[in-house]
Amino acid sequence: MAVLRAFANKQAIAFPLLSDEGSHVMRRLGLLNERVQEDHAAYGIKPDPRHTNLPYPGVFVLDEAGVIVAKRFHESYRERDSGAALLAQTLRVLEPRPPRAADFPGPSIVVGAWLDSPTYSFFQRMHLNLELRLAPGFRIGAPGAPHGIAPLTVQVAETPGVEAGAAEWPDAEESRRAGQDGPALMHGGTIRGLVPLTFAAAPGAGDLLVTATVSYQLRDDAGRLLEPSSVEVRVCVSELAMVDRALPVRQGA
C-alpha cells in the first residue's frame, strides 16, 4: 500500500489503485501469469525475485451493470495505451479539444489536429485526433463511399518509428432512402476522427513530426459537388522517458 501511495503521489494519480497483497484476487480471477520468468527471458530480461506473482497486464471494460463488454490484453509487455487512447477506444469518451490543437485550413473546411498526448514513450499507443469543421451548408463524402463522391481518407506519411492503423470515423448518415441511390454522406458541422498510432521508435529517437493528409469531397445543400481536395496536418510529439528510466544519450545531441 505504501508503494501504491508513493506511486500515486509521484504520478498524480487520482483514481483508486487497489492493492492485491499476496496476489489472491489475481489468482482467483485466473490472471496470474505463471510464465513471467519465461516471458522475461524472451525479452532478454534477467530473472529477478520481484518478478513473481504478477498478473497479465490488461484492461477490462465494464458496462453499467458491471458486465465485461471488452478485454484488451497486449502480447508484448512493451505495448501500452495512453490513458486518453484507452478512454476513447473503450468507452468512446473523447477528450475535449486541447489548447495545443492546431488548425489547418482547406477549401470550405478547417481540420484541427492533435495527439492524445504531447509526449510519447517507447511502444506507446495513442491517437491522432482529427476534427473536421465544415463550412455551413456542406456535407462530406463518407469513408468508403462507393460512388458518386470521393470518400474521406487519411494517409499518415511514412515516419520511421511510427506505425499508423486504420482511421475511425462516425457512421455515415442514412442517405440512401428506399429507391434512391445517392452518395454516402456524413453529417455537416464538426466530425471527429481518430487514427491509432504506435510509437515504436527506439528509445532516444527524440522529437517526431507526424504528417497526415486528409482527402475529402464536399457537397453543398443544392447537391453540387466541389472538386476533391486535401489538407495536410502536422503535429509534433516529444519523447518522454519511461517511469524512472532515463533516455539514452544520443550521439551528437
Binding site: R50, Y56, E64, I68, F73
Partner: protein, 53 residues
C-alpha cells in the same frame, strides 16, 4: 526468441460475464468494493505489473 501467442479471451473472466466481486484496499488503505464504487457507471479495470519497478 519469440513468445508463443496466447489466447487472451480465455485468460481471466470472459467477455459477456459480470466482472467478479473484488474488495481490496486502495492506496490510502480504504477498503473499496469495485462494483459499489462504480455506482452504476461504466468502468475500466486495469491490471498492471508493478508500481515498484
Amino acid at each position: 526468441m519469440a513468445l508463443p501467442p496466447r489466447d487472451f479471451s480465455t485468460i481471466g473472466p470472459r467477455e459477456g460475464t459480470r466482472f467478479p466481486e473484488v474488495v481490496l484496499p486502495d492506496q490510502h488503505g480504504v477498503t473499496m468494493d469495485l462494483h459499489a464504487a462504480r455506482g452504476g457507471r461504466r468502468a475500466l479495470v486495469v491490471f498492471y505489473r508493478s508500481a515498484d519497478w
